[in-house]
Symmetry: C2
Subunit: 511 residues, 2 copies
C-alpha cells in the first residue's frame, strides 16, 4: 500500500521537487505558512472562530514515514507522455536517501486552541523539496481535523452544558471517520461511539442498542418488551433503551417504564431512553412527563437523528415553549437531555471543507539570507503576509482575547501595541499598558530538525485548551449565528514589508 | 492501532452482539439489507441517480480483519459504570475464536453501477452477532464511496466530454482522501493527483506545478519566466504552466507563450496552461485568443478553483456567450478545456453524507425457517421492505432502463412484469413482452461464507460499468438539475408481504 506512506501527496509536489533538485535548490531552507482565509460558512450561518486540530496525528505520521523500496520502484516506473522515465535516477536516489521528514522544523498552534483567519497556524521550515512534498499531507490532516473540531465545538456550545456524543461513523468519510471522532472529542464531545479510535485515545467509547435488536426479538424471540428486558438484564447499571422502533409514546416509553420498574425492584437505577425519530422536542416533553409520573425523573433522554447546532438550538427553544402545556418543568427537561450527533457533525454539513492553505513565505538565498516570498492577488484579502512570522494573542483588562497579532520573526511585541489592519494599512489601533492584561505567543516549536521539541500532551490537554480559550473569548464571537468579527492585525513592520513587496511587484508587471 | 481493525465499529454493535451471545442467538443466520432512501440533494439541485462504489475496499478489509490479541485486551479492559467488566469472558473468548468475517455471505451490486433508492444494494447473510458488528464498517465504506462516485459522475457529465482530473486531496477528509480519489475515478474522472492511491490502483497520477514554484523563483532564482523555462526544460513533452501567480493576461500567458515558442523551436509541443483564479470563463476565452494568435491552437486550458457540476455548467455557458466577442470559436475553446476539480467533489459539497442504511430483514427461527423482519414508521416511505429479496432492472424496447424491481428471493421475474408502487399498492403498471428488451438481475453473489465467489474486476471494469449504465439511462434522469424520477417498484408478492406485516404490526400496538 503506497496510499498511506510518503506518496500520500499530490503529483505536482514530486514534479516540483524534481525541478528543485535539478536546479540545485532542493535542499535550500524554505518556510511555508499554514493559514486559513475564512471561518467555515454553513450557508445560513457562519462560525466566528475555529478550533485547531490534527497536529498530533500529523506529527506521528511524519515521524513514521519515509521513502522505502516500494516508493522507489513506483517512482521509477512512472513515465512521461513520450515514454521516458518521469523521475530521473539521480532524483529518485536522493529521495531514497533523504525522503523523510527528519529535516523538518515546525512551529504550530497546539490542538484545541481557538484560531482565526490569516494568521500562521503552522510554520514549516525545511529543505525546499521536502517542504513542498509535505504540503499535501499537512493540509489534508490539519484542514479536515480543524473543520470537524470547529463544527463539534459549535454543537457543544448549542448543547449548553448537555453532553454531546459523537455517533457519526456510519456516514463519516470512510477512514476519515477516525480523524473525525478524534476531532469531535477535541471540539468538546464527551465521547464517541467509535470503538477503535476511542480505545487508541484512552477514551471509552459509548453506545447502547439499535432498532435492529428490537426487530430481531420481534422476528424470533418475542417483541419490544422482551428485547428491553433482555438488555436490562445484561446491562442493569447501564440501561438506555431506544424507544421508537414500534411507536414511541404508545409502545416504547411504556415498555421502557415497565422494564425500569423491574430494574429498580432489583436494586438498579435505569440510565435513559433514546429518541431517534419524529418531533424530538415534543417527544422529549411527552416522554419526560411519562417518566416523571412513573417516578423516573432522573432518567436521561438521549436525542439522535440529524442533529447539528441549529437543530439542537431549535429543539431547546421548542421545549421551553411546549413543556408547560404538558405540566413539565422545561429547565428539568433540558437538563436531562443528551445529544447523539452524527453525520452533520463528522462531515461538517453545510461547509464540508476547511479552506486552509500552505504558502511559501521565505526562501534562503545563495548568501544564506532569508528572502521573503509573496503571492499577489487582485483581491487585497488574498495577498499573503510575506516573510518569517510569529503570532501573538492580546488579552484585554478583563482577560478576554481582543486581537491576534501577526509580527515578523525578530519582533518582540510589548505595550503599547500598535495593531494595523491587515488589508487597510491606514486603519490602526493602539493598546496601552493598562488596557492589556497579557500578550501570549501562540506558536510552539514542536519539531526541531525532525525531533520533537515540545510535549503538547494528549487529547485531554487539547480539550482543556479549547475549554480555556472559549472562556476567554467574547460571547459575541462565540455566538452561533451572526457572531462579532474577531480582530486580526499586523505589526507596523510586517504591514510595511507587505506593502513594499506589493508595490515592487506591481511595478514589475509589464503594462 | 485498534482504529483500523475489527473494532472499527460502533460501541452498540458490541453490546448488542454480547446480548445475542447471552441469548444464544449470536450464531443465528440473519439477513441485513443495505439501501439508501434518497439521492444526494445538494440544496439547489438533486441527483436523479447514484453510482455504487466502495465494495472492493470493503471486501479487502473484511478478508484481512479479525480479532487479535490487542482487541481482546482492549475489550477485557472496558468497564460498566459500576466498574464491572462490560464484556464477559465467555463472550470475549467467542470473539477471539470467531471474530472475523469468514462466515459472511454477501450479494451486492457491483461498483460503478447506476443505483436507485429503496433497493437492496448489498445483502448480508451472516451469524447475527457478526452481521451486527459489520454494520458500521459496511455503511462507512459504501456510503462515502457512493457519495463521491455520484458527485464525480455529475461533474463528469457537466464536463460534456472534457477531461476531469481529481485535485481534492488537500481538502479531502483526512484518510478518506484515498477513498475519495478512488471513487472519483469510478465516477468517471480521468485521473487523480493523489500519487499513492493512484499507483496502488494502477492509474498514473497527474499534475503540473503550483504557485509556490513561481514564488520560489521570484524570491531567489529570477521570476515567472525563469520558472516556466526551468519547468519546460525538465518536462519538455509535458509542459503545462500555471499562469496566474502574477497576472494572468499581463504576465502569465505572455511568459507561457514565450516558453512554448522556445519549446517548439527545440522540437517539442507544449501541453497546456492552467488558470486557477479569477473569472475562469472570461480568462479561458482571452487566453485562447492569445494562444491562437501565437500559433498554439491545440494547447489545453486546464481550469481549477472551486469547480463543481454547476460551476462547470456555468463556465461553459459563459464561454458560449462571450467567445464571439473576442473573435474566438466557442466550440474550439470548450473542446480544449480540462477541469481540475477538488474539494467540492471529494467532499460532495452541498450534501456531504449518503443516507445509506443497513436494516435487519430476516432472521432464522428455531426451526431454521427465515422470519421476515420489518421496521414500521409513521412515514410510509420509511417502512422498509421485509424478507430476503432480489433486485432486477427492466429495460424497455430501446434498451433504456425503465424501472428497478425488488422481488422476494424465490421469485423469477419474467414478462408480463407487474410493477407495484412501493408505498401506494393500488398504483401499478404492467410491462408486456414486446415492451421489454431485457430483465437483468443486479445483485452478484460476491462472498460465499467468507470466500470470494465472483471476480468483479478492478477500477477499469467499474468505470466501464458506469459508462454503460449511463448510456442506458434516460437523458431526463441524467439531467443535472430537476431530473425525471426513475421508477422503483415491488413485485405483487413482496408488496403483499409488506402490507400484511404492516397490518399485523399496527394491530399489535396497544391503543
Amino acid at each position: 500500500m503506497l496510499a498511506d506512506g510518503f506518496l500520500f501527496t499530490d503529483h505536482y509536489q514530486l514534479t516540483m521537487a524534481q525541478l528543485y533538485f535539478h536546479m540545485g535548490l532542493h535542499e535550500r531552507r524554505s518556510q511555508f505558512d499554514y493559514f486559513f482565509r475564512a471561518y467555515p460558512n454553513y450557508g445560513t450561518h457562519q462560525a466566528g472562530y475555529a478550533i485547531s486540530a490534527g497536529l498530533g496525528p500529523l506529527l506521528d505520521w511524519m515521524a513514521d514515514t519515509r521513502v522505502g523500496r516500494a516508493e522507489v520502484a513506483a517512482l521509477r516506473a512512472l513515465q512521461t507522455s513520450t515514454g521516458q522515465p518521469e523521475f530521473r535516477s539521480d532524483f529518485v536516489e536522493w529521495l531514497a536517501d533523504c525522503g523523510s521528514f527528519g529535516a523538518v522544523s515546525l512551529w504550530a498552534v497546539p490542538e484545541g486552541r481557538v484560531v482565526h483567519p490569516n494568521t500562521p497556524l503552522a510554520v514549516v521550515e525545511a529543505p525546499l523539496a521536502i517542504a513542498q512534498i509535505l504540503e499535501t499531507p499537512l493540509l489534508n490532516q490539519l484542514n479536515f481535523a480543524s473543520l470537524i473540531a470547529t463544527k463539534a465545538s459549535r454543537v457543544v456550545e448549542a448543547a449548553s452544558g448537555g453532553s454531546v456524543l459523537e455517533f457519526g461513523m456510519r456516514r463519516a468519510p470512510a477512514w476519515g471517520a477516525n480523524t473525525a471522532s478524534r476531532a469531535s472529542l477535541i471540539g468538546g464531545a464527551e465521547a464517541s461511539s467509535n470503538v477503535g479510535v476511542s480505545l487508541d485515545l484512552g477514551y471509552p467509547s459509548r453506545g447502547t442498542h439499535a432498532h435492529s435488536m428490537v426487530q430481531v426479538f420481534m422476528a424470533v424471540a418475542g417483541g419490544e418488551l422482551e428485547a428491553f428486558r433482555a438488555y436490562a438484564d445484561l446491562y442493569p447499571d447501564d440501561t438506555t433503551l431506544l424507544v421508537d422502533t414500534v411507536d414511541t409514546l404508545e409502545s416504547g416509553v411504556p415498555n421502557a417504564i415497565r422494564v425500569f420498574e423491574e430494574l429498580r425492584s432489583k436494586g438498579h437505577e435505569p440510565k435513559g431512553i433514546r429518541l431517534d425519530s419524529g418531533d424530538l422536542a415534543h417527544l422529549s416533553v411527552r416522554s419526560a412527563r411519562m417518566l416523571n409520573v412513573a417516578g423516573f425523573e432522573d432518567v436521561r433522554i438521549v436525542l439522535s437523528s440529524q442533529l447539528d447546532e441549529l437543530t439542537i438550538w431549535q429543539i431547546r427553544n421548542q421545549i421551553l415553549e411546549e413543556a408547560a402545556r404538558y405540566d413539565v418543568d422545561p429547565g428539568r427537561v433540558l437538563s436531562r437531555l443528551v445529544y447523539g450527533v452524527g453525520a452533520r457533525m463528522v462531515t461538517s454539513e453545510g461547509d464540508s471543507s476547511f479552506d486552509g492553505v500552505y504558502k511559501t513565505v521565505a526562501v534562503e538565498d545563495d548568501a544564506g539570507d532569508w528572502q521573503p516570498a509573496i503571492k499577489i492577488s487582485d483581491s487585497p484579502a488574498k495577498v499573503q503576509n510575506p516573510g518569517r512570522k510569529r503570532l501573538w494573542r492580546i488579552y484585554d483588562r478583563r482577560g478576554v482575547a481582543t486581537a491576534d497579532l501577526v509580527s515578523l520573526n525578530g519582533e518582540q511585541v510589548t505595550t503599547p501595541v500598535n495593531l494595523i489592519h491587515p488589508t487597510q494599512p491606514g486603519v490602526s489601533r493602539i493598546l496601552t499598558e493598562p488596557e492589556v492584561s497579557r500578550i501570549e505567543p501562540l506558536l510552539v516549536h514542536v519539531l526541531d530538525n525532525g525531533k520533537r521539541s515540545a510535549d503538547l500532551g494528549g487529547i485531554e490537554q487539547a480539550r482543556a485548551r479549547r475549554s480555556a480559550d472559549l472562556q476567554q473569548l467574547d460571547p459575541g464571537v462565540r455566538r452561533l449565528v451572526n457572531p462579532h468579527t474577531y480582530h486580526v492585525s499586523l505589526t507596523p513592520q510586517l504591514s510595511e514589508l507587505k506593502a513594499s513587496m506589493v508595490r515592487s511587484f506591481r511595478s514589475s508587471i509589464p503594462s
